[in-house]
């Protein structure tokens, strides 16, 4: 039972990565925008879940069910933290206080499961706000650099993401999900949960709902990305990536096109972050959304799979994720084997090596792929852009 849900969470993680990589592929693979700040987009979704949806739910209760709110926030145990604040003030300013948050969230989840209307409202709010914030972050992170060469864009995006993670890490209260963890509430009405509970397999219903949601999001993203790739816009994007200058002479507004892609990709990534935080990682901490996990690994997945090939990057996501897990779990046995011949690491070194090996593995894989198979496992299907067609023609002639 425990193992099964652990496995399902891993699957949920893979599917989250699939969505994130598809979004990254739209930005970097098709449009040539080197988004080295993916992490902040995923965190945006998690932030909405941890910080905004909880406050929204509490405010909604304040308006619709004051008694329920009183039961949630009016506890004597909270007194030392809140003083003589009003309930609304507590909801706004103290609901993220670690001690309060820890006991508040399970209770809030229980209340929401009984009040279907509020739960659905919170759910809609979460997705809507995450989309809007994803678009917003897409714009502010790249606005200053969309006019400039791609190296400036890469630096600006990386710097923005790193800076924001540090700003949130510095937060100890009031905002949420910073240095101390906050928790994601369950926003599923009991009716939905009981339907989910009736379905196999026998794990927590919210995990099943989360998985379905993640799959749906990944599927929609995939179909959407495929549609864009084969549309006139997709051709324009690739033309922009291959030759900015030529495209701009045909009257395309490159900065505007880049911004539009950043908005789209930002929104998708933030939504993936929402589903991830709600269902697979309900303990939300800014420091978990590192450049390594949510920027570098998606890039690795994209490069291994094949840039500008949607099926390829999905494959890449699975390969890298599974590869890392296999390495992590097989290392102790490998060390045992090595020790039996007297050269294996001992003591503290074992844990350290086990923690770093999957990361070093990804770094090495990237370098090898760039060198040996720069187009990835599945290559971009060629010949759809004018530039690409010309290139193929040239190659044919030169042989």
């Amino acid at each position: 039972m425990v193992e099964l849900s652990a496995l399902l969470i891993e699957i949920g993680n893979v599917i989250t990565f699939v969505t994130v990589v598809l979004a990254l592929n739209l930005m970097a693979g098709y449009a040539g925008i080197p988004n080295f700040g993916m992490a902040i987009f995923v965190y945006t979704g998690a932030f909405v879940v941890g910080a905004l949806s909880v406050r929204f739910a509490l405010l909604l209760l304040a308006a619709l069910e004051p008694a329920a709110l009183e039961a949630l926030l009016g506890k004597p145990a909270y007194k030392p933290y809140v003083g003589d604040m009003s309930l609304v003030e507590i909801a706004l300013f103290k609901s993220m206080e670690p001690t309060i948050n820890r006991s508040l969230i399970p209770e809030l989840s229980a209340v929401l499961s009984q009040k279907a209307l509020v739960a659905v409202a919170v759910l809609l709010f979460t997705f809507l706000v995450a989309t809007v914030l994803g678009v917003f972050v897409g714009v502010i992170s790249s606005y200053a650099a969309v006019r400039l060469k791609e190296d400036y864009l890469a630096i600006a995006l990386l710097a923005f993401s790193e800076m924001m993670v540090q700003v949130f890490f510095a937060q100890t209260d009031s905002v949420a999900g910073g240095r101390y963890a906050v928790y994601a509430p369950n926003v599923w009405p009991s009716e939905l949960s009981s339907i989910a509970a009736a379905l196999p397999p026998a794990v927590k219903p919210e995990l099943k709902i989360g998985l379905l949601l993640a799959i749906a999001l990944a599927l929609v993203t995939y179909l959407y990305a495929e549609r864009i790739a084969n549309s006139p816009m997709g051709r324009a994007l690739r033309a922009m990536r291959d030759d900015e200058f030529a495209l701009s002479t045909y009257g395309r507004d490159i900065p505007a096109m880049r911004l539009r892609v950043m908005m789209l990709g930002g929104a998708i990534t933030a939504l993936a972050g929402v589903v991830y935080a709600m269902s697979f990682q309900p303990v939300i901490k800014a420091t978990d959304y590192t450049r390594l996990t949510w920027t570098f690994i998606p890039w690795a997945m994209m490069i291994v799979g094949g840039m500008a090939n949607n099926l390829g990057v999905v494959l890449g996501a699975v390969v890298i994720y599974v590869g890392r897990k296999v390495l992590e779990f097989s290392l102790p046995e490998l060390f045992d084997l090595l020790r039996s011949v007297g050269i294996g690491p001992e003591g503290a070194a074992v844990d350290v090596l086990r923690a770093v090996a999957p990361n070093i593995f990804v770094g090495v894989i990237i370098l090898l792929m760039l060198y040996l198979r720069p187009k990835g496992l599945l290559e971009e299907r060629p010949g759809r852009t004018l530039g690409g067609r010309l290139r193929d023609l040239m190659e044919k002639f030169s042989r």
């Binding site: 040239m394 190659e395 002639f397 030169s398």
Partner: protein
């Protein structure tokens, strides 16, 4: 002196020059002419090692230098003046000249510089100036001087007269002839100024669409009316 054997040259995957062969004899001027886009510059770049050589050989004094890196070719005795971007605008005149002798002992470099100043005394007055402040003619002088700094056996000049006033161009071609006659250099020249160039040349080649249409005496090319009308605008 410089021998090219069925050379195929291009950039990346683009094939531009096909199966070109010729020989530049010692102390002679060999001129390559032909329409624009015919691959003349690519051919010189291929000889120097800046463009990709797909097949064929380049021999300098009998030694196969085809795949040596460009800086080694320069040190072995090929001086190459490119058509554009042939000086460092951000460096001073003296720095430009010193760089052109990079790796040689400093006393040798100073001697060569004095020799060069006897050809172009105007440069001597500009030594401390950034090269970007020079006039077009002075830049061309500097570029040629840089080509001479290593005292190369073979000098390759890519359209040295382009952008010069007719009178300066004529003077420059005279200087090139003097390089052969007085400095005893071997010159491989690419020129738009066909008639004037062929008149000072010993041998010549006509390069059209990356293929050699004629190799032989410069006088023969000059007097071949059919070729002249077709490709060179010479009447």
């Amino acid at each position: 002196m410089l021998k090219v054997e069925s050379l195929n040259v291009g950039y990346g995957k683009f094939h531009i020059v096909f199966d070109v062969s010729f020989e530049v004899k010692e102390r002679s001027i060999f001129t390559i002419v032909g329409p624009n886009g015919g691959g003349k510059t690519t051919l010189l770049n291929g000889i120097m090692g800046i463009a990709t050589v797909f097949s064929g050989r380049v021999l300098l004094k009998g030694q196969d230098i085809t795949h040596l890196p460009p800086h080694q070719k320069a040190r072995l005795g090929i001086g190459y003046m490119a058509q554009t971007d042939n000086i460092f605008p951000g460096l001073t005149v003296i720095e430009n000249l010193l760089m052109a002798a990079y790796g040689l002992p400093e006393s040798v470099a100073r001697d060569r510089m004095e020799t060069v100043f006897t050809y172009y005394p105007v440069l001597k007055r500009r030594t401390g100036q950034k090269a970007r402040s020079l006039s077009g003619g002075e830049r061309q002088m500097l570029a040629i001087s840089m080509t001479l700094m290593r005292d190369p056996d073979v000098i390759m000049l890519d359209e040295p007269t382009s952008g010069l006033a007719p009178i300066l161009a004529k003077d420059l071609l005279k200087k090139i002839a003097a390089m052969r006659d007085e400095l005893k250099k071997t010159v491989l020249l690419v020129e738009q100024n066909v008639k004037a160039a062929l008149e000072i040349s010993d041998d010549a080649m006509l390069l059209v669409s990356g293929r050699s249409e004629f190799v032989g005496k410069a006088q023969a090319l000059l007097s071949d009316e059919a070729l002249g009308r077709k490709y060179l605008g010479v009447k």
